[in-house]
């Protein structure tokens, strides 16, 4: 018998059962007793449409930001109040990595003040963009609550969070390139 056959035989003799370190039933039972959120008709496709819409809006917003960057004008500061404590949930059984949370918090920190310095059209595009992305996140999370193991949904959620980060980064980038009043 060669070494590899011996290896396969050893593998087959490994214990077929290894009990969990703790009894998981109480946690499972608690989840089973919690009613699932009802999936509304067509919800499976609505999030897809919203995500697609978010992508389109983002492309428009990115173009607008670039256009604005090439034609620097002094924007009139406008009061803006976008929620910056928007949670980034990843379904009930998931959490996003700490590095992502730190990066997101950093970009969101001065979002309102940065938005106030953008031209009105750009600002409106960014706000529509963020609103669409956040609606998409809510829809995807609702779908994930119904189907937590759905890899497609999880990937879409990650992509949507990345889209949001990209928009926040665009805002930061655009506002840092705009001339400041005291630089004129």
């Amino acid at each position: 018998m060669n070494d590899e056959d011996s290896l396969m035989q050893r593998a087959r003799r490994l214990p077929g059962e290894i009990p969990p370190r703790r009894d998981l039933w109480s946690d499972i039972e608690a989840r089973l007793r919690t009613p699932e959120p009802a999936a509304s008709a067509g919800a499976g496709w609505r999030w897809f449409a919203l995500a697609a819409a978010a992508s389109v809006i983002m492309a428009v917003a990115a173009l607008t930001v670039l256009h604005t960057d090439r034609q620097p004008t002094l924007p009139a500061p406008a009061p803006v109040a976008v929620s910056t404590d928007f949670p980034a949930p990843f379904g009930p059984a998931y959490s996003l990595g700490p590095q992502y949370q730190v990066a997101r918090a950093g970009l969101a920190q001065d979002l309102n003040s940065r938005l106030a310095t953008l031209p009105p059209e750009t600002r409106a595009s960014v706000l529509r963009n963020l609103e669409a992305i956040r609606a998409a996140v809510a829809e995807i999370n609702a779908a994930l609550a119904d189907d937590p193991g759905n890899v497609l949904l999880q990937q879409l959620l990650l992509t949507t969070y990345q889209d949001e980060l990209a928009v926040l980064a665009d805002v930061q980038d655009a506002t840092e390139k705009l001339p400041k009043r005291n630089e004129i």
């Binding site: 070494d3 590899e4 290896l7 396969m8 050893r10 593998a11 087959r12 003799r13 490994l14 214990p15 077929g16 059962e17 290894i18 009990p19 969990p20 370190r21 703790r22 998981l24 039933w25 946690d27 499972i28 039972e29 989840r31 089973l32 007793r33 699932e36 059984a93 998931y94 990595g97 590095q99 937590p148 193991g149 890899v151 999880q154 990650l158």
Partner: protein, 192 residues
């Protein structure tokens, strides 16, 4: 009755599938104690699979919990064409693959992350065979994800290449190649 590794890829024991079918029928009607009985019968086997595929007690337990929650929610989809344990294994493998993808996206890649138990095969050697088995378990845990997944399903659980490939969503040829790679790496590492 203790379930041997040889049987874990198919029926657990002669009476197992019948008892499972009886419990599944009751659970489908909302009988939670029947589903708890299914959990008690299969948790050890599902945990062994998840632990070997993830290399982490914490991740394995997350996968076990999620697998049983999903099984409960989708019991109506279990058609009885395969053993309940095989159906449950498929759900657990799906969950493990999701976790592996999620972990691999993190900076630093997939890592064993039990802070309280960095070596899942060293915590309580009294529970399983000591010595060479522990060496083999640790060496299996050191394999790359793709090779480890195939080795666990085919060599440890006893699934055919076709069954393992179906569960992992890969081609049979890829499954065979990953097994060859796993065997080569294991032989090299066990000799060291």
């Amino acid at each position: 009755m203790a379930v041997t590794a040889e049987a874990s890829g198919a029926e657990a024991d002669a009476a197992g599938p019948v008892e499972d079918a009886r419990l599944v029928a009751r659970a489908r009607g909302g009988d939670l104690p029947a589903f708890e009985a299914l959990y008690r019968r299969h948790a050890g086997r599902i945990n062994a699979l998840c632990l070997r595929m993830t290399g982490s007690h914490a991740l394995a337990e997350d996968c076990v919990q999620e697998a049983f929650v999903q099984a409960w929610r989708h019991l109506d989809r279990f058609e009885g064409r395969s053993a309940f344990t095989t159906w449950l294994h498929r759900i657990a493998v799906n969950r493990v693959l999701t976790v592996q993808r999620s972990e691999s996206r993190r900076p630093g890649g997939f890592e064993v992350s039990d802070e309280d138990n960095p070596d899942p095969w060293g915590a309580d050697p009294g529970e399983t065979d000591p010595g060479k088995d522990m060496d083999l378990e640790r060496t299996i845990a050191s394999l790359p994800d793709g090779a480890r997944n195939v080795f666990v399903l085919h060599a440890v659980c006893g699934y055919s290449h076709q069954e393992a490939a179906d569960m992992l969503g890969i081609a049979v040829g890829t499954c065979k190649a990953q097994l060859h790679r796993a065997r080569r790496l294991l032989s090299e590492r066990l000799e060291q």
